[in-house]
Structure formats: structure tokens, C-alpha cells
Amino acid sequence: MARRVGICAVAQTDWVRDRWYDRFQGMALEVVESLQARTGLKFTRHEPGEGIDMSISVSDDVFDARTISNNAMTDVLGAHMGCEEKVAQNGIQAIYYGLAAIASGHHDIVLVLGHCKESQGKSRNMVTHLSFDPFYTRPLGLDFCAAAGLQAGAYGEKSNITDEQLAHIVVRARERAAKNPHTASLEPVTEEQVMASAMLADPIRSLHEHPVSDGAVGMILAAEDIAKKITDTPVWITGVGNCMDSFFLGDRDLTSNFALQKAARRAYDRAGIGNPREAIDLVELSAPYAYQLPMWMEGLGLCDEGKGGQWINEGGLEKMNVNPSGGMLAGNPMILGGLVRAAEASLQLKGEAGDRQAGSPQKALAHGVMGPAGQFHSVVILERS
């Protein structure tokens, strides 16, 4: 790789169920102004090194119900007569893009900003239903929740996951959420409530699913020499990796973690990590459904394959510092999951996580996922200076 790239500052709005009083531009502006206040950076037009010279937005035309939804973001992102691009994938991929743009030498300081109002749709499932091809799988009525149900059943059997364990994951996530000022509006629940909640796609219950939420998240990325001037606590992006699995569920072994294993190995290799269990101090994992938390930990190689259930019973969640933020079960939109995870991991590495600070980690892993039953995974390794 070329020059190192650091995360200089992160910001997010509160994640709330229905931000009916705000347009997506308003949510984004709150984050942009916060990032500017933290870094003192201004926007520049194609003048490298002088200020933010590239803006990358993350949004989803279908959730926004607007074609090219970033055309409404140019001014908010300070891109009048400047450079603004949009990643229409899991938000963590904007870090991948920003890293490449800076490491290539084209840009020096990049603003990444993701926003989504899941509350605008009647159901998230109506959106994810449209991810299925119109000929074979859409007529079956599949959506990401139904696909996750198939995977959850198969994985639960393989790794001995019980309804009690899933309830424990949800309760823990909501306890963490209460300590995170951005997710404090989420009500705590008991294991009994989780196990009594409605069945969505057997064995997935309604409280196993990440809550619908609205909000925005952003960060400033900069080339090494500039990052050091902007902040005393830059967080270095030392490894990235992602991978796409087959589209048709029937073509996959749904419990194999094929894409996640490859994505993680790529990120570990780039970060020079041989044994991730020793190297990684903290994990921010995107698990929009509770069963995915142990399953993805297996995929990352941080838990033995087929031993997810046992790993939970042995306190793996605490031992490995998994999701001190509460994770996606504490609420953020699907498209932004990975970007929020990376922001939270950065806060932990900077020592700025407040009540949810989990010790003083040196290396953290942030993860994002997209597609039915985890078709696409993206992993980022972050390190403090």
C-alpha cells in the first residue's frame, strides 16, 4: 500500500425510531457541522491539502424513494463545484473507497457521510424484497428477513444456538444501548419478553431484529501527515477486505461463512495479522439479527466453527469486547450498519466512547454486511497510534 490513511474524527446523530421532523439533509448537516467543529476543516475545491477535497455520501435510493438521492446532498456536503460521490452499498464501503482515493494520491482529506430514514418506508422488507431477481426468487416473496430465517435455522442447528442465548444477545445489546447516548431512546427488554416476542421468520423473533431507525453518521479521513496535524489521536485504517458470495440461496451452504472468511482473511493479511484472536482487542460487528452475532464471530475466526453456542455460554461476548456500542440491535439503519460500527470502533480507539468505553483497545475490527443471508461482507481493521 501507499501512504497510510487515518480517521481523524467521527460524528453521528442520535438513532431514533422516526425522525419525522427532519429531512435527510438536516440529519446530514448536523453530522457535517459536528465534524467541522471537531477538526476545524473547511471545504476546498480541488485544492489538495487545504481542506476537505472529496465528499463521499452513503445512501440508498430505494429507502430514500429518490433517484440519485445524493443530488440533494451536494450543498450539504460542501461539494458546490467540488467532488462528491455516492457509495450505494453498506456504508463501511465508503471507508474502502475513501482509503483508495487518498492512497491513490488523488485526494488528501475525505468526508464520509451516510444517512438513512428507514421510517419512511412502510416496511424494510418491502425494500429488501426488491433485491431479489424478478424471475425466480422475487415471486417466492423472499426478503432479507425471510432469507435470514433460513440461515438462522440452519446455523442454529450447526452451532447449537438456543432461544435463550438469542434472548441474552438482545438483552445485552439493549443494556449497552442505554449507555450509548445515541441509542438511549431504545427501551430495555427482559429475556422473557424477547422469547415471547412475535415470530417473524422461524426462528427469528421480532426482538431479534434490529429496530427501524433514522439517523446519519460521518467521519473525516486524511492522509497520514495531514491526519497527524488534524488530531492527536488519529485511528489508522490498516486493513480492509470484503467478499461477495453467490446470489441464489440454494447455491450456497448458508452456514459456511464463505464470504466473511475471505473478507476477514484479506483484511487480516493487509493489516499483517496472523492470529486475529490475539491481535484484535475489540469487535464492532454488524448483526442485524441476533443469531448472526455468534455466526459472524465464527466467520471472522474469532470463535471456533460450530461452537457459537458454547462461545456465548462461556462469556465470549465480554471476553472479546464485542459491540460495546450495542451493535445494530441497538438501532441503526441497515445500509449504515458497518459505517456506524467503524465510527464506534474509532471512538473506542481514541478513548472517546464515554460510558461505553471498553478499556483502552489498540486494535479493533469493524464489520458490515449486505444482501440476503450475508451475501456480502466487509471488514476493516483499525489501530490507534
Partner: protein
């Protein structure tokens, strides 16, 4: 700007473009472009590290289509990224692929742009980009008659109308040489008088004949590191530079007050940092995103930083034909083929083919050392790519 390392284009592929590609589904159509690009580059999917994918979801109403399209893009087991920026998407995909290779993250990246406009409602899709409260009632898709009005006011009705028809006919004659092009009408100059009066009016003097098509089609480009490019390709098209410039407000928001066009601004910035002081002399071929013949004609002045009626004179003196002094759109341009998510990428692809001398019947006769490609989209967005025959920093 000091680029970490150079990037070369070593293979280009396109599907056939047509109004109705009913015999293929989306991944199959993409696969046509991908297979051709890999073949031209002399590689298989085994050597590809990463796929960059883009289009506009609300045209076909497929959410995150890169998931399904992995069947046609070969993304299985690969790294991937999905980027969308409206009409400029195809050009942005090229910028992204350039970053990914130049950064050292990857040695070979394939960018894939596509649209199957037949499966949706294009004008409805574009109108849906406008703000639901303030602008949607005013938006008419991509149909904008104001440039025709402005040119008629500036140059007189007769000269302006003749010029836009001549531009249209030149583009069709170019498309006739490009077997991939969607609309190949076989127009001749003696039809100009008839068409400029009798072609159905869309908005004012913007008539059906002036407007770009709605196409089904896909494009794929293989980007490679300098080592791979030199090893695999006798003449890569090197990515010298690219620039993206956006602005938000709608066209002519302030009435007739002159607006600084992103095209002119982007061109000036990119030319400055690449030592281009006389674009007409220093650039050998230009593939322009020309959504209508009025816009295409008007934008020659913007991109080449010309004054007064210099652009009309270029047209009237036959300078922009394939055989002319400054060939524009030897492929036939966007008026001939417009699968939107691929359209801006086709401009880069066609510019690359000219440098690689692989454009076949629409290869320009002269030497092509420097080629320019433009993307257009959103509310006045520009992405420009500058490609060279010589590897940057080595000549």
C-alpha cells in the same frame, strides 16, 4: 497531486445496445460486456481482484442490484464496490477503479456499468430525483428545452437550428460505423430541412430527433497496474487524470443569468493541472456525454473553453467528424446509445479504444495520443477523464 502509481486500461467490452434486449436478463446482458472486456484484455476472472458496479436502482426497481448481478459480473469470491452518481455513474466507476488500482489495493479491477431502461420508466425515474416538495412538479425528466432557446437567441433561429441538426446527422453518421450503437438511422444532410420542422417537438425546439435514446446495454472496462498493463497489453490507454465537479441548484434557477457551468469549470481545472493550454490542439479525440444535439453542440464551447461562435464554426467547417481536425464522438455518442448507468463509462471506453487503436470502423484516421471523455448527470454534474497513449510521467 502525486499519483501513487499509474493505471492503464487494457480491455473494453460492450453489449449490443438496443431499446429492448428482451432475449437477455440483466446479469446476462452484463456478462456480454464483461466477457468481451476480459477477452480483449487476455485474462480470465481468476486474475480479476475486484468488481466495481453501478447503475440507478429506481430505473429497474432492483434494490442493491450488484447482489443479483454477481451472476453476470463474476463477483463471486471477489472484492466489490458499488457506486452510483446518476448520469455520471459510469465515469465515477472509472474513477473508483482508478483509485483502487492506483492505491495499490488491487492489480486488476473491472468496472461494470449497466442499465435496462426498457424494464422501467426512464422519464419517471429521472423526475423522481427532484425534491418532492419544491421541484418535482417542475421536472420533466431529462427533457430541457432551454439550451435550444438560448442558442436561438444568441445565434439566430436559422443558424442555430441548422447547426443542431447538422450535429445530429454527424452523430448518426458516426453511429452507422459503430455496430454496437443502438440507433443507426442512416440520416443524410438532405433530411435536415424536413426533420428540423417535422420531428415531433418535446419541449420548445428540443425535438424527438435531437434527443438521446433510452437503451438497454452494459459496458465493462479492465483497469490494471503498470506492471500488469505492460505485460498484458501492447498499447494500454493510460489514465492521466480525472476530475469530478458537482453543483446542486437546478438548471437556470436564476432565469437567464449566466451560470458557471460545471463542464467549463472542470475542464479548466483539469487542463491547468495537466499542462493543456490549447485543448483543440493538444487533445486528439473527444467522447462527450451529449444527451441532446442542442446540449452536445453548446457544450463543445464549454469543454474546449471556446468563445463566441467558435464551436458553431467547428461544426460548420466539418471539424468534429471522424475525419475532421477534432473528432467528437466517433462512436455516435449518447444520442445513439444511452443505457444510463453505462453511458458515461462508454465514453471512457470509446476514448480508450481510440488510443488502443481498437475502435474498428469508427477508428479516427489520425494519431490519437490524448483522448478526453466526459460524463454528465444529476443537476449539472461533470466527470472528465483524460487518457493518454504514453504512460504518464515517462514521456
Amino acid at each position: 497531486m502525486k499519483k501513487n502509481r499509474n493505471v492503464g486500461i487494457i480491455g473494453v467490452g460492450q453489449s449490443f445496445h438496443s431499446s429492448h434486449r428482451e432475449e437477455v436478463n440483466q446479469p446476462e446482458m452484463i456478462h456480454e460486456a464483461l466477457a468481451e472486456a476480459l477477452e480483449q484484455a487476455g485474462i480470465t476472472m481468476d486474475e480479476v481482484d475486484c468488481i466495481v458496479h453501478g447503475n440507478m436502482e429506481l430505473f429497474e426497481m432492483v434494490h442493491q442490484p450488484d447482489l443479483w448481478h454477481s451472476i453476470g459480473t463474476g463477483a463471486y469470491g471477489k472484492e466489490c464496490m458499488r457506486v452510483t452518481t446518476g448520469g455520471t455513474t459510469g465515469a465515477t466507476l472509472c474513477s473508483a477503479a482508478d483509485y483502487l488500482v492506483a492505491s495499490g489495493l488491487h492489480d486488476i479491477v473491472v468496472a461494470v456499468g449497466f442499465e435496462k431502461l426498457q424494464e422501467g420508466h426512464t422519464t419517471g425515474g429521472i423526475t423522481n430525483m427532484a425534491d418532492p416538495l419544491w421541484a418535482r412538479q417542475l421536472q420533466t425528466g431529462a427533457l430541457t428545452g432551454m439550451t435550444a432557446d438560448a442558442m436561438i437567441a444568441e445565434f439566430g433561429e436559422d443558424r442555430a437550428k441548422r447547426a443542431s441538426m447538422k450535429y445530429r446527422i454527424i452523430m448518426d453518421q458516426h453511429a452507422m460505423k459503430n455496430e454496437k450503437a443502438h440507433r443507426r438511422l442512416g440520416l443524410d444532410y438532405d433530411q435536415a430541412e424536413d426533420l428540423m420542422v417535422n420531428s415531433p417537438a418535446l419541449v420548445g425546439e428540443l425535438r424527438m430527433i435531437h434527443m438521446c435514446s433510452q437503451s438497454d446495454g452494459a459496458c465493462a472496462i479492465v483497469f490494471a497496474s503498470p506492471e500488469k498493463a505492460k505485460q498484458l497489453c501492447a498499447q494500454p490507454a493510460w489514465v492521466k487524470d480525472h476530475i469530478t465537479v458537482h453543483r446542486e441548484e437546478c438548471f437556470h434557477l436564476f432565469g437567464d443569468a449566466p451560470v458557471l457551468m460545471t463542464h467549463k469549470y472542470a475542464a479548466r481545472k483539469m487542463f491547468e493541472r495537466n499542462g493543456i493550454t490549447d485543448p483543440k490542439e493538444q487533445i486528439d479525440v473527444f467522447e462527450m456525454y451529449d444527451p441532446s444535439s442542442w446540449w452536445g453542440l453548446d457544450w463543445i464551447r464549454e469543454f474546449l473553453l471556446l468563445e463566441g461562435d467558435e464551436h458553431l464554426k467547428m461544426l460548420e467547417n466539418d471539424e468534429i467528424t471522424i475525419e475532421g481536425k477534432f473528432p467528437i464522438n466517433p462512436s455516435g455518442g449518447v444520442i445513439a446509445s444511452n443505457p444510463i448507468g453505462a453511458t458515461a463509462m462508454i465514453r471512457v471506453a470509446e476514448a480508450a479504444l481510440q488510443i488502443m487503436e481498437r475502435a474498428g470502423d469508427h477508428q479516427v484516421p489520425g494519431n490519437v495520443d490524448v483522448a478526453l471523455a466526459s460524463g454528465f448527470g444529476g443537476t449539472l454534474w461533470t466527470t472528465l477523464h483524460l487518457l493518454t497513449r504514453a504512460e504518464p510521467g515517462t514521456s
